[in-house]
Symmetry: C2
């Protein structure tokens, strides 16, 4: 084996720092592994990534072999990668600028070039380089796996992950930093979160998620307090109810606007303000099309016609989604139909069998929904991939949209049905409380109790992983040696779960936001429940990130993406639902003067609703989305760029003039 | 006099082209005139404008003197002004770039430097230079007028205009170009407008106004045709009415979105896309504050605290406006109250005196509204000036907002009152028809007949102006001679009216849009009326611009500003009003199944309204505001700027490194 894995280029430094782990499936064909290593090490002219690799091969009993690649890169290679990515680093003048190797001396920490990039940044750069290893015309299939076809220009690593040749690919944790982070984060439940450190270790996207979670939780305090106050005192007054609803609605708007401002500050401080146009952002790895050039940068990249994309979205996605949502709607109707039947049975004959029967529709409905949900998520992922979005943000946002549509229907359509079709306020109240409280309690159990179980499972897995390492019949290394501690850490981390992204976390908050604000006039204590839940949620999410999951590759983000719009839409919907609920409430109607006709009551509530909507729009319009100081800083950069462009034009024309003069004198 | 008006600097070229006319009031103190000429000619170090001036002094009978300054500038001076303004000119590569003198050879037409700038551009540059003549610490008052105080840093010319020392300031028309333009524009009523030429001569702001007028008129064709079709056939069907209303509402949205796209294209082609941040745009001439520096460009400019501005807006403007609108509202209530009283009188006693009395409230109301309107416009202008907006666009938009609020209340509140408070559909229909048709006919008369009268008045004035010139006892020139033809042209144009900006023209279209779309289900023929009106409107507006008014100084604009939002708000309001009107229509209610309760009817119409609003939002959201190709072109410039900034950083650091090396070797 030593002969086969000889260094393919001069890139392989024995003393590199391993940063990313690529673990192959058991008994992977050696040809595929060696082909991969070649690709990783080869020079860029030969379509390689020019990275450093150490291969660890373990032979177990029954002839099973297991190969793990430890990947790193020389400092210059990683700095070049940082430049290609347009990574923002702190410049001499304290501003963030895109890193350029040629200008390295003006970036902070240039005296120790290896220290310019953080570990997370290095890992992100390696990940991007891995994604950039694309199949050439010669690569028809993965060596040793003729059935796994490759297409020129497509990312190899993604293909190997999706075809399970590569079992897992993850960056290594930094245990020392994690310990410090944990002490500040989930071990101090009442202090604010160390957002800067979270961003440093987990990247901007997760930093923004936790900042949002904290911001949202704090903003729940006023409605929770008022709701609690109303609950412990009496609750039977038209004006009190109306005041609470109006306060909640305006509060939700102010919260969403204030978040936008705070988020813009964070994004600016972290150098990911998207004043850089999306038109010259790099396409995502899975974006495909015939090879062409970016119309802005003129760099080669896949090109996919816009018309085709629109056709796929409106021609395929929209009808399929509509079908799915219709199914979910009919499932809900079926549930109420069944429930009505068994309720009638129970009324006719109050036997224990019929009593049990009354719970059956709920159980059936829950199962049906779970199945539908699983199918829908598969369909949504396939559709989203099929839409072939050029940018990761666009891909994410369309995925969020699809998720929201279905989950919203799932969670709220039954409440809407009870509230506005059956118009049964009692049933609505009990239905809402049941949904909210079971969701919360289930969530609490899942996120506070399960981590403890996880810890036991972790301990078990850890033992298993270590035992596997110890019982390996032979361990051989290529391209350098690996310390036992590191090998142990790699074994343990490779057995940990992979973090699936922020989407489900946001979704949980989104649905909670819906429960709290859509029906707040019916159940004012909801905000209190949500508040208590979120305080624990932050800490258990933090614990999961630090101790339960593999370290994720960092992603940058300037905002919470389509979730912002989703929250805003719910806050608009909340105006309508609350006005309708207050108007329909029989207790409220009793409090109205008796000489008002039903039609006039309705007109009044519709008018109030319209005024509230207008007020909401006005509040959102008059609070600027970006704080003034951020706007000034962004303008400064734009102004400097403008001046630089002019200067460059002048220099270029002066140079060409000089050249012309030289030519004319000859 | 010759001694006094000797050239103050070397700037005065006898052979300059006079471009702008400044006419002093009769018998203006000679000291003020000479002081002004000095300011115009002085070098920039002495706070002058470095322009060229010829003074023409006419002495009439009874010792009356009249002075006219003809202002121009040397080519280099004007090109420098173009650079300071950041004027966009066509670059060698066909793109528009900000003009820079040092790079002049790369701009189109550089072989004849005087031809680089169009006449309108030169006039705009001179206007900007005039505005930039600011009072110094020594200028305590206008010489010869001790009561006209000057404040350091404030624009002198504006002060002299507002205190009537300068009677008028205008750029000279280009008769040859006007003839060609007129032949293509108002003399061919059925062809499309020569938008590019209009923009070349009158500037981007007017170019965009006429483009909008044309675009809006064409988009009125479908609703006009359908409305006409409905009118000539029968009109008594629930579905037909609903279909027409729904079509109109969606059509209005599509029109507004399509206009945004077309406008973005125009703005890009004309080089006024506002991807340049407003933070480093120059402040408007009347913006005041203590002298400081622009936070972005670090150029000296007045600074006015944002908090102060917000205080003025929310603390003064909002309450005062609220008061004004309340007055207008009570005036309307008073009108209906009076009308009810006289109607009762007439019913009780049908005498001819009482018959006449029934028209009295309308007359009184019209007079009251006219007075209120005049007061309001004064108040609004004062408030807007008081708010002290830094940018012209911001100033304009706040002015538009104030205008719209009042005019909307004025024109529509009575219709709303009739429709939704009195709920008298018959009265609404007659009221609406009367309002629309009288407005249109009055407008037609004003804009088609009056120009002819104007022409007679013009002829008269022309004679007067020429006679005045001929009967002048002596005409003396300083700093150069002026041909008789030019002097004649100046005399004539100085007697013409000044164009008051696009606001009233937009307002007219805005109110028309309101009449057509807010109540289209009551009066479907409105679109046809509007269409016919606008076809004439375009030509009479064009005639006015070319023949009736003084040439205006050009202004740049990237869009129609706050009018876009105003039109969009009306289109949202139109959904509500039309749903309500159809729902309330007794004829429609007769067509509904009789077993539906009034409450359910109302619920259905509210639901339909909400669905239509959602549909509208979706249409507006899914049609991108800027065409893809414009986005790509804008991104290209941003990308080039980014690269240039990086390059500049590198060069600068390389230079400083080299310097450091040189120092270390010494």
């Amino acid at each position: 084996m030593e002969e086969v894995l000889k260094p393919q280029s001069t890139n392989n430094d024995v003393n590199f720092e391993p940063l990313v782990v690529m673990e192959f499936a058991l008994n992977t064909n050696q040809a595929a592994i060696e082909w991969m290593i070649t690709k990783l090490q080869a020079s860029s002219e030969r379509n390689g990534a020019e990275l450093c690799v150490t291969a660890v091969r373990m032979e177990h009993n029954q002839g099973q072999t297991e190969t793990v690649l430890l990947i790193g890169g020389r400092t210059e290679r990683l700095l070049l990668g940082a430049e290609m990515m347009g990574l923002m680093k702190e410049y001499r003048d304290g501003n963030l600028r895109e890193f350029t190797s040629i200008d390295i001396n003006n970036f902070r920490g240039a005296d120790n070039p290896d220290g310019i990039l953080s570990m997370a940044e290095k890992q992100k750069i390696i990940f991007r380089e891995l994604e950039n290893i694309r199949a050439t015309d010669e690569d028809e299939h993965v060596p040793g796996y003729e059935f796994i076809k490759l297409y020129p220009g497509r990312t190899i690593v993604k293909k190997m992950l999706s075809s399970d040749i590569v079992k897992t690919l993850f960056p290594i944790h930094d245990q020392d930093f994690l310990k410090k982070l944990g002490a500040e984060w989930y071990k101090r439940p009442l202090s604010s979160q160390p957002i800067e450190k979270i961003k440093y270790y987990f990247g901007e996207k997760l930093g923004i998620y936790f900042a949002f979670l904290g911001f949202y939780t704090i903003s729940l305090i006023p409605p929770a307090l008022i709701g609690f106050l109303y609950w412990i005192t009496s609750w039977q007054n038209l004006y009190r109810e109306a005041i609470f609803a109006v306060f909640n609605l305006i509060w939700a708007t102010v919260f969403l606007e204030a978040w936008k401002r705070y988020c813009a500050e964070l994004a600016f401080k972290w150098g990911c303000t998207d004043f850089v146009s999306s038109k010259f952002e790099e396409p995502r790895a899975n974006f495909h099309g015939h090879m062409g050039r970016n119309p802005v940068t003129q760099k080669p990249e896949p090109v996919f016609p816009k018309s085709q994309q629109l056709l796929r979205f409106y021609g395929v996605t929209v009808p399929v989604l509509f079908l799915c949502l219709t199914c979910a709607f009919y499932a809900m109707l079926g549930y109420f139909w069944l429930q009505a039947i068994v309720d009638r049975w129970y009324l006719e004959d109050k036997s224990w069998l019929n009593k049990i029967d009354t719970f059956m529709p709920t159980v059936v409905y829950a199962v049906v929904i779970a199945i539908l949900n699983a199918i829908y998520r598969k369909v949504a992922t396939i559709l989203n991939e099929f839409e072939n979005h050029r940018l990761q943000t666009s891909y994410d946002n369309h995925m969020i949209l699809k998720l929201i549509l279905f989950e919203f229907i799932n969670c709220f359509i039954s409440l809407f049905y009870v509230a506005f079709y059956l118009q049964d306020m009692k049933l609505l109240k009990s239905h809402l409380m049941a949904l909210l409280i079971t969701t919360q309690i289930l969530g609490q159990v899942q996120e506070s109790v399960v981590p403890f179980l996880f810890q036991r499972r972790r301990a078990h897995r850890l033992q298993q992983a270590v035992r596997k390492l110890e019982t390996a019949q032979s361990v051989s290394y290529s391209n350098g040696d690996v310390g036992q501690d590191l090998l142990r850490q790699v074994s343990i981390e490779s057995s940990m779960d992979q973090y699936r992204g922020t989407q489900d976390d946001y979704l949980e908050m989104f649905l909670q936001f819906g429960y709290v604000f859509l029906f707040s006039s019916v159940f004012p204590l909801a905000a209190m429940w949500a508040l208590i839940n979120n305080v624990t949620e932050i800490r258990s999410d933090a614990f999961k990130m630090c101790r339960v999951f593999q370290r994720p590759f960092t992603e940058s983000a300037a905002n919470i993406g389509a979730w912002q719009m989703a929250f805003e839409l719910v806050s608009v919907l909340a105006v309508m639902t609350n006005c309708a609920l207050i108007g329909m409430n029989p207790e409220v109607q009793r409090l109205l003067p008796s000489d008002i006709t039903a039609v006039n009551v309705l007109i009044i509530f519709v008018a109030v609703e319209h005024i509230l909507l207008a007020l909401k729009m006005a509040v959102a319009y008059f609070i600027p989305d970006v704080p003034d100081w951020v706007e000034v800083e962004v303008a400064k950069i734009a102004y400097q760029s403008k001046l630089a462009l002019q200067k460059e034009q002048i220099q270029r024309s002066a140079a060409s003039k000089r050249k012309a003069e030289v030519i004319s004198t000859i």
